[in-house]
């Protein structure tokens, strides 16, 4: 086994920060899929409504975890109010997380208004400022969601403690895993309604999820090729994943649960609702594990 020294005895960031990156991925994925749902789903407003609540919930838990893990919460406002160091990905990330919170809150309010209007029989949104506000909000949410999906890579690539985050394909993997988690959540939401599992939107989400899982698998394969002879620290991290302490999580959760279970589920002649939910949950677990291991492997 490769033995590599690191500047610090213990890595500065622990498992809670890895969980933070998973939750941020869930929130950003939900935002990205929510953007898609407005234009493509027949029950798009309901889907958006639930996904936005999930997003805001994930961000709340993620921020709480961060405060608990890092301590000195009274000083955290500096990360939002201090603009002198925009070189710092953490500084920019904190501001975007706050922006995402704000946008989700506004979006939920607007969706609440829209749901009330739909309940009274109004089916068309008023043109002009109302429509523009909705569109701008969703566009901004999509942008912040995209940023939050990828920004952990920018953060981790500036450190010695996560060598795999510096690898060429890591940003794409983080983006795809966020999309997998968001699509998985949306599929669960769509299928949870009575008769929802057979709906068009559920079928679309199911196909999209399988395509994203395939893309994730291909990206991991290409990443493995790219990391041959990538330096002692990167090689040590790869070895840790495939043969060391992280092998159970990698082969079991990422490859087994995250890829094999959803893809093998497609072979079933009949696909009951429970099986669809299991495949969606498995894909989410696999994508979350991938994000965690890219952060933690060293």
């Amino acid at each position: 086994m490769t033995t590599v020294a690191y500047p610090l005895l213990e890595p500065p960031w622990g498992p809670l920060l890895g969980i933070y990156f998973i939750l941020i991925g869930l929130a950003s994925g939900a935002s990205l899929v929510s953007l898609w749902a407005r234009h493509n789903a027949d029950d798009g407003v309901r889907l958006e409504w639930v996904l936005d609540w999930i997003g805001i919930g994930m961000l709340t838990v993620a921020s709480t975890i961060l405060l608990v893990d890092l301590g000195r919460p009274t000083r955290f406002f500096l990360m939002l109010t201090e603009f002198s160091n925009l070189h710092s990905p953490m500084s920019v990330g904190a501001k975007v997380v706050a922006l995402e919170f704000f946008l989700l809150a506004i979006s939920l309010y607007l969706l609440h208004r829209q749901r009330r209007a739909l309940a009274t029989g109004e089916t068309r949104m008023a043109a002009g400022p109302t429509q523009w506000t909705f569109l701008t909000m969703r566009f901004m949410l999509g942008l912040t969601g995209f940023f939050l999906a990828v920004y952990p890579v920018v953060l981790l690539s500036r450190t010695w403690s996560s060598p795999l985050a510096k690898s060429p394909g890591s940003a794409l993997i983080f983006l795809v895993t966020a999309a997998v988690m968001g699509t998985g959540l949306a599929w669960i939401v769509a299928a949870s309604r009575v008769g929802g599992a057979e709906s068009t939107v559920a079928a679309q989400l199911g196909r999209t999820l399988m395509a994203l899982v395939c893309i994730e698998m291909i990206l991991l394969g290409l990443e493995a090729l790219a990391l041959v002879n990538a330096g002692p620290r990167t090689e040590a991290a790869v070895e840790e994943l495939t043969h060391g302490g992280g092998r159970t999580a990698f082969w079991g959760l990422v490859v087994g649960v995250g890829m094999a279970v959803p893809l093998l589920g497609m072979l079933l002649p009949r696909r009951p609702r429970a099986a669809s939910l299991v495949r969606a949950v498995a894909a989410i677990v696999g994508a979350g594990a991938t994000r965690y291991l890219l952060f933690a492997a060293r």
């Binding site: 590599v4 020294a5 690191y6 500047p7 610090l8 005895l9 890595p11 500065p12 960031w13 890092l70 301590g71 000195r72 919460p73 000083r75 955290f76 500096l78 990360m79 201090e82 002198s84 160091n85 070189h87 710092s88 990905p89 953490m90 500084s91 990330g93 904190a94 953060l155 500036r158 450190t159 010695w160 403690s161 002692p232």
Partner: protein
Amino acid sequence: MPGACDRHLKRSRICATPSASGGYFCIDCRRPGSRRGEYNLVAQGISAAYIRSPGITATLGLAGRTASLTLAPAELLLLFLGGWVGRTPLGERACVARFGMLIDLRTCIGCHACSVACKAEFDVPLGAFRDTVKYVEEGKYPKARRHFIPVLCNHCEDAPCLEACPTGAISRLADGQVVIEKGDCNVNRFCMSACPYGAIYVDPDENVAQKCTFCEHRTTQGLEPACVEVCPTKCRIFGDLDDPGAEIAQKANANRTEVWKEDAGTNPRVLYIDPRGALGLIGADGVQVDTRSKMPAVGP
């Protein structure tokens, strides 16, 4: 007008007064002042804190000469007004040194006097180090050799910790020391992850990130850092790297110097005279990892 060159640097003194011929000279040694590019201008009554604030870069004529200035707009206005009424001497500039340390590995005996002095100076907690000495063994008997390598924060020109800190708690002082403001640190540990030297630790008593400051509290008083002062072999030299008359600059010019982890591209201000290539032996280590090393067995 009174002044002092970089060699006779005192932070509170105004130096490098323009002479009648337009040049700069030092009141103490009559040596011409250094002509480095970017000067921070400190006018009377203007807080030195302005120096740290991001300002605009402008080119102004100063007493018949041109210097590049980095000033906030408010400062520029004050300087113009002050100069106009004769209350602010426009020709004066603050001394700005480029503090660094030169460590001669040929003379270090690994006595740890520097480590102990640093621990005592800052009450550094057990298991953490601002400054320590690595013991590294190379070769096998009968050609075995032990190296003693003092390590500390490198106060890099391109400090990764400074750019990583999201709260602005890490800043560079006018003379180049990179320091952490305790009140602004929220212990997010990004600086620790970014520093390739492992020079930053979390002080469990105060719950803030801490590191070597080049003993900024001492150097502002004209004293040397504690580790330099106690070194029995004088293997550490502290001073202004830009001052050609300073001992550190002269010794650095007379010898081939190396830096720790040059590949990290941080431009350290801690230089080593290392003819035996000992720094390469700790290329992957950090300041904080000493506690992991096993002490040799003693006794039967």
